[in-house]
């Protein structure tokens, strides 16, 4: 199940709910799995100084980001007993309410998926060079800072 090569984690634009549903469906033939855990990052319509965010435009140092995603993937497989792991991140414009991050882990047992999923998401936030430009309705913008 483990793939030993760097994959491209990026998708153009938002990640659709249909794509997520289909990813889940693909795992129904893997009958050693007992628990899945899925994290989805969704773009919030935050208000800043009376203006509302309408979208985030994501850019990345793609080569470095994919290398970091690969490192996170390898480390996670070493630390936790997982059957499989999938990570997708958006590039380009993602509107409020749309999904920009999809992390999907599966294991025979539930304890592993909880620990693994939180670990992966925190690692992505800390180590992957992705940059979000928050676009306001009046076409001004600000650069996103993770908290």
């Amino acid at each position: 199940m483990k793939e030993r090569k760097v994959k491209n984690v990026f998708m153009d634009g938002a990640i659709s709910s249909q794509f997520i549903g289909e990813s889940i469906a693909k795992h129904q033939s893997k009958t050693t799995i007992g628990a899945h855990n899925i994290f989805l990052g969704q773009v919030r319509a935050d208000e800043v100084d009376g203006k509302q965010i309408s979208a985030i435009d994501y850019t990345a140092h793609q080569e470095m980001a994919n290398a970091k995603f690969f490192e996170i993937r390898e480390t996670t497989f070493e630390k936790f007993n997982l059957t499989c792991m999938h990570i997708y991140h958006s590039l380009g414009e993602v509107k409020t309410g749309e999904i920009c991050l999809f992390v999907f882990v599966s294991s025979p047992r539930r304890k592993e998926v909880f620990k693994a999923l939180e670990y992966i998401v925190e690692e992505i936030k800390a180590k992957v060079p992705i940059f979000g430009k928050e676009l306001f309705e009046d076409e001004s913008h600000q650069w996103k800072v993770n908290s």
Partner: protein, 77 residues
């Protein structure tokens, strides 16, 4: 020798440039940064890290590669 510099996020906005090539003589990351701070004074007040060969490096790292990347704080997810 030529060094390619890539700028990301707010840094590309500040420099108005996503990639440029500068002439440099051997040295460390901080030697290059001094050149860049002269060219783009706003950079000095901006929080960023430098990556060489796809890894974050410290300011006193010697430049080995012909390319570095200037990365503002990450905000993925």
């Amino acid at each position: 020798m030529n060094l390619k510099i890539k700028y990301f996020g707010v840094l590309a906005e500040i420099t108005n440039c996503s990639e440029e090539t500068i002439a440099y003589t051997k040295g460390s990351v901080s030697d290059v940064l001094m050149l860049l701070f002269e060219k783009y004074p706003t950079l000095k007040e901006t929080d960023f890290q430098v990556a060489q060969d796809l890894e974050i490096v410290s300011k006193d790292t010697l430049l080995l590669e012909s390319e570095i990347a200037l990365l503002p704080p990450f905000s993925g997810g």
